[in-house]
Structures are given as structure tokens and as C-alpha cells.
């Protein structure tokens, strides 16, 4: 999976800025996408392209359980978020709803990848490659259950009994 990076070089990007509370009443996914990241980056909607990745720091998606957050990013075209760490409900929602891939990276990858860089994520070998700079980084492997749910295409398609 290849995409270009939109980088937010900060920790604790919370769901209130990913999709502000006033839009919680909205359940039209396309409309939610038009308000993605509105609390932090009003230009996000105009600059995001289908297949882009977000890169950010620690505790991405902290705050509320609103599934609107991964939905708004996913329907904006974001296929993966690369972060130093994730808040638990955002992470779970992203995986169980099959909205986007949450990729945990290390400090070297975070420092080495810049806005606009073209990145290739290869989950099968736990590698994040920076095509623009010809560098490769390790991603943290998914835990067993997360890997299985992602492979299945979301929680509803995952059959625990067949393990």
C-alpha cells in the first residue's frame, strides 16, 4: 500500500479536533469527511488526496469514542495513520470498522518521514518504506487478534470460532 504523507508533528491529536463535537449528530459519512481535521487544520479537506497517510506523534485519537473520527478520515481518502502511539478506542474503531490501518512507528520513522513523502506500508514484513528518501523503518507488528480482524476486513467478518 502506497501513499503520501500529511504530517502533524504533535502528540495527543484528539477526536475533538479530528471531528468537532457539533458534527456528532451527522451520520452521513461523506458529509463527515468534509469536516475532518477541521479543529486543527482547516485546509485538510482541500489538500487530502485518496490514498494519503497521516503521520503524527503519541496518543493519536485520544478523547471520545466517536467512530466519526476514523470514519471522517477514511472517507476523506486516508488509508492509514502512522503514529508513535494510538488512543485505544480510536485504534479499535479503525480496525473493527475496517476504516483505516493504524500503524505504530518508532521515533526514527517519525523523525525521518516528512510532509509529502511517498511511503509504502508492507504489513506482511512489518515495514514502512520511505520511497522519496529511500529509507526503510520497522513498524510495530499488529497483535494476533488485530492482525486477524484486519485480514478478515473488520470485526463482523472475523470468525473467532474458526481460529
Amino acid at each position: 500500500m502506497k501513499g503520501n504523507i500529511i504530517k502533524y508533528a504533535q502528540d495527543n491529536i484528539d477526536t475533538d479536533v479530528i471531528i468537532p463535537g457539533q458534527y456528532l449528530k451527522v451520520h452521513d459519512y461523506a458529509e463527515l469527511a468534509t469536516h475532518a481535521m477541521e479543529g486543527l487544520d482547516p485546509d485538510f479537506h482541500s489538500k487530502v488526496k485518496e490514498g494519503d497517510f497521516i503521520l503524527s506523534g503519541r496518543n493519536f485519537g485520544c478523547g471520545s469514542s466517536r467512530e466519526h473520527a476514523p470514519i471522517a478520515l477514511s472517507y476523506s481518502g486516508i488509508k492509514a495513520v502512522l503514529a508513535l502511539s494510538f488512543a485505544r478506542i480510536f485504534y479499535r474503531n479503525a480496525v473493527d470498522g475496517a476504516f483505516l490501518l493504524p500503524i505504530e512507528i518508532d521515533q526514527d520513522a517519525y523523525d525521518g518521514i516528512a510532509e509529502g513523502d511517498e511511503i509504502e506500508i508492507n504489513v506482511s514484513v512489518n515495514e514502512v518504506k520511505n520511497i522519496t528518501k529511500n529509507q526503510a523503518y520497522k513498524m510495530k507488528p499488529f497483535s494476533e487478534i488485530i492482525g486477524k480482524i484486519i485480514t478478515a476486513g473488520g470485526l463482523f467478518k472475523y470468525k473467532p470460532d474458526q481460529d
Binding site: N12, D14, D16, V17, P20, G21, Q22, L24, K25, V26, H27, G39, L40, R58, N59, C62, G63, S64, S65, R66, E67, H68, S85, A87, R88, I89, R92, N93, D96, G97, S143, E144, I145, G154, L155, F156, P160
Partner: protein, 423 residues
């Protein structure tokens, strides 16, 4: 095993579990509200299109529904969501639907204890991050997104990774001017907003034994702001009495074993505590009130699952009795039962005499939804739980998080005020 491990082992049919084990736990209670409910309905529509049956729920008697975020409806999208929710509960035979304008209703997390909907030892999940609140009753209470809630509604179980537990040993007794809110702000300030990430935060020790159930609810409520999977306190006679006085029968206690293991133990001494606030724009950005910046406040907001329980309103009334507010002040009791008690016990008169606007139960401006949201550059002191940019309204508004006592004292002076410094 500690209490969470015991609850998750029982719920997943295992004799024992350890941190990092993945279990499918049977769920005892599930909650949805006017934000996660329409989200669930959307997931159900999607599943139906994929040929997955959504004709009936696993057990409608274990499901309850709150109307809280956008009620009373301020505009038509919110009104339509309430209609969708009503159609949903009717279609699936969910009887416990607390509707505004029809007796008891309120914020979902407040109803969980006011209506004794959750029992000690339960696995309780809800489509809201502050579901952690209800762990104060001795349940494993955990917030989920609406896909996960939809899964629970259809299957009756959900996967969990058994969390490590951080144990907070709280010693001593809360001084008169200090509330559980001050303690949890202090803890979040010490740990950071991801300090408890993916873990259980368990509260115990003589200080917690001595605390009211409602104070424990405040502690568990804001474990969410430390990133925790859940908050919990071991249930005791106080929990039995609290739930029994709200109609529960046969309340059984589940407790951790004497040799329970914890990943880390933190100790706090209540007698040394001072009132604390969290400055913009993070619940971890804490300072003691007497060292707070000298800002001119525009508003004091006393509401939400965190700061508008009966005990919170009583604390506010102690401050406001015989005084007038200097800035706009709103009090929104978190449920009708609390509103009613506040009326019967004379609290509403104290609030109205002080100049406060008393509103209906709602999440309201806590999440920037409606009912008193902040304008650009407005500065608010609030008994709520989050102060991220734009949380309560305009992206350039500011929220200071405080205890009900501090929010009330600050309403009187127009500045951030330690209740001890009020003349």
C-alpha cells in the same frame, strides 16, 4: 486475580486470565445514546446490505438507551436522530429507553447509577468513552465505538485484551475544600493523557473506602482522560446501599483476591491535597488553584456526567448560598432524578437566587453540542472532563476544568478561585 481479571475470566468462561490474554467476554449490559445509536443503525443498514441478519438483538432486556448529547433537540438533524432512536427501540423491543420529556432521563453515565442499571461484577459496555464512570460500582465498564456496540447487540459478546492494572492507593480523607475531581485531575496531571493507556486504573485504600459512591464515580469517569480502558473501585457496603436505595435487589459483591497482582502501585495522600484545575488545552495541564493564572472568566459551567451529580450540586449550593454570581453561570443537573432532589431540598432556589440559569439534563456544551457553547475568545471554568481546542465551542475559546466547588467559587468572583479564599 484482581477484580478486573476475575470479572473478565467469569465473563469469558475461563478459570483464570492474565494481562494481554485476548478474550471474548459475554456482556451483561450495553448502552447506546443519541450519538452512538444512529451510528449503530447505520452499521445495521450496512450489514443488512451485506446479507447479515439484523432482525433481532441477542437480548433486548440487557440493552438500555439514553437521550443525552443533543437533547432537547435544538434543530432538525438532532430531532431526527431522536426519532430514529425511538423507532429503533420500538422495533427491537428495548424497554429501557429514557426519553426526555417523559419522566426520568439524563446523561447515560448518570442513569447507569441513578437507575441502578449496572451491578458489581458486570461487564458493561457503552457507545461512549466515559462509560468508564460506572466502574465505580465495581463493574468492568468500558467505552466502545458504534461498530463494536452493534457487534455486542447482535452477538452478546466482544473481544478484549485483558488489561494490566494500575492500582491507586488513596490514603486519608478529603479535606472540606477538596473533591474527588481534584484528585483525578492531579492524577491525570501526573500521568499525562496517555499515562493509563490500555490499562485499568483501580482506586482503593482508606481514602476510597471513606469516599461516597458519587466521588468514586468522578474518579472512574476521568480515567478516560488518562487513556485508560476502564476505571474501577472494589465494591463495598456503600455500593450495595447506593444501588438498593435506587431499586436494585440482590446486589452481590465481586472482589479481587488477596494475592491480586498489579502492574504498578501509585500512592496519594488526600490530607495534603489542594484544589486543582486543568488549564487549556489538556486535562493533564494541571496546576493548584492558588497558582492559577489571573484570567477574567466569562462563564462557569456546572454540568455533565463528571460534575453534575447530586453530590456535585450540593457542593455548589454550599458556595452559592446567600451569594450572587458575577459571570454567566449555568447548572445542568445530570438527570431528572437529581433535578428533582435539588428542587425538593431547596438547591434550585439557592441557584436561582444566586442568578444562575438552571437548564435541563444534557451533555450540552460539555461536548460543544448546544445549550451554552463558547464564543471566540470566551473563557470558561467548567466541571466537565475535557478542554481540548474547540471542545466547548469555538476553536479559540478556552476551558479550565475544575471541581464543582472551584467552579462555584469562581462564578462568584469572576476569577479562578480557591473556595477557601472566598470572602
Amino acid at each position: 486475580m484482581n477484580i478486573v481479571e476475575k470479572i473478565l475470566a467469569r465473563a469469558s468462561g475461563k478459570s483464570s486470565v492474565s494481562p494481554d490474554d485476548v478474550v471474548f467476554a459475554n456482556v451483561d449490559k450495553v448502552m447506546l445514546h443519541d450519538v452512538s445509536g444512529p451510528g449503530v443503525i447505520k452499521v445495521f443498514d450496512k450489514l443488512k446490505n451485506q446479507g447479515i441478519s439484523v432482525d433481532k438483538l441477542w437480548d433486548p432486556s440487557k440493552v438500555w438507551v439514553a437521550e443525552d448529547h443533543f437533547v432537547p433537540s435544538a434543530e432538525k438533524v438532532s430531532a431526527e436522530n431522536i426519532v430514529k432512536l425511538s423507532n429503533f427501540t420500538k422495533k427491537y423491543g428495548i424497554e429501557k429507553h429514557f426519553k426526555y420529556g417523559m419522566g426520568q432521563y439524563g446523561i447515560c453515565h448518570t442513569l447507569s447509577h441513578e437507575e441502578a442499571l449496572v451491578m458489581p461484577g458486570d461487564v458493561y459496555v457503552g457507545g461512549d468513552s466515559h462509560t468508564n464512570t460506572t466502574g465505580a460500582l465495581g463493574a468492568f465498564a468500558c467505552g466502545l465505538g458504534h461498530t463494536d456496540v452493534a457487534y455486542v447487540l447482535l452477538n452478546g459478546n466482544i473481544w478484549f485484551k485483558v488489561p494490566e492494572t494500575y492500582y491507586f492507593k488513596i490514603n486519608g480523607k478529603l479535606p472540606d475544600h477538596v473533591m474527588a475531581k481534584d484528585l483525578i485531575l492531579k492524577i491525570i496531571g501526573d500521568m499525562g493523557t496517555d499515562g493509563g493507556a490500555y490499562r485499568t486504573m483501580q482506586f482503593g485504600g482508606s481514602g476510597v473506602d471513606d469516599m461516597s459512591v458519587e466521588s468514586r464515580l468522578t474518579l472512574c469517569n476521568m480515567t478516560t482522560e488518562a487513556g485508560a480502558k476502564n476505571g474501577i473501585a472494589e465494591p463495598d457496603q456503600k455500593v450495595i446501599d447506593y444501588l438498593s436505595s435506587r431499586g436494585a435487589t440482590n446486589v452481590n459483591l465481586v472482589n479481587g483476591d488477596d494475592d491480586a497482582e498489579y502492574a504498578k502501585i501509585f500512592e496519594y495522600e488526600l490530607s495534603e491535597m489542594e484544589p486543582i484545575i486543568a488549564k487549556p488545552f489538556s486535562p493533564a495541564n494541571t496546576t493548584v488553584v492558588r497558582e492559577a493564572p489571573s484570567v477574567e472568566l466569562d462563564k462557569s459551567y456546572i454540568g455533565s456526567c463528571t460534575g453534575a451529580k447530586y453530590e456535585d450540586l450540593e457542593a455548589v449550593a454550599r458556595i452559592l448560598k446567600g451569594r450572587k454570581v458575577k459571570i454567566r453561570t449555568e447548572i445542568l443537573p445530570a438527570a431528572i432524578s437529581i433535578y428533582q432532589r435539588a428542587m425538593e431540598n431547596g438547591l434550585l432556589k439557592i441557584f436561582l437566587d444566586a442568578g444562575v440559569t438552571v437548564g435541563p439534563p444534557t451533555c450540552g456544551a460539555c461536548c460543544g453540542a448546544h445549550m451554552g457553547v463558547l464564543a471566540k475568545d470566551e473563557i470558561c471554568i467548567s466541571t466537565t472532563n475535557r478542554n481540548f481546542p474547540g471542545r466547548m465551542g469555538h476553536i479559540e475559546s478556552q476551558t479550565y476544568l475544575s471541581s464543582p466547588l472551584v467552579a462555584a467559587a469562581s462564578a462568584v468572583t469572576g476569577k479562578i478561585t480557591d473556595p477557601r479564599d472566598l470572602k
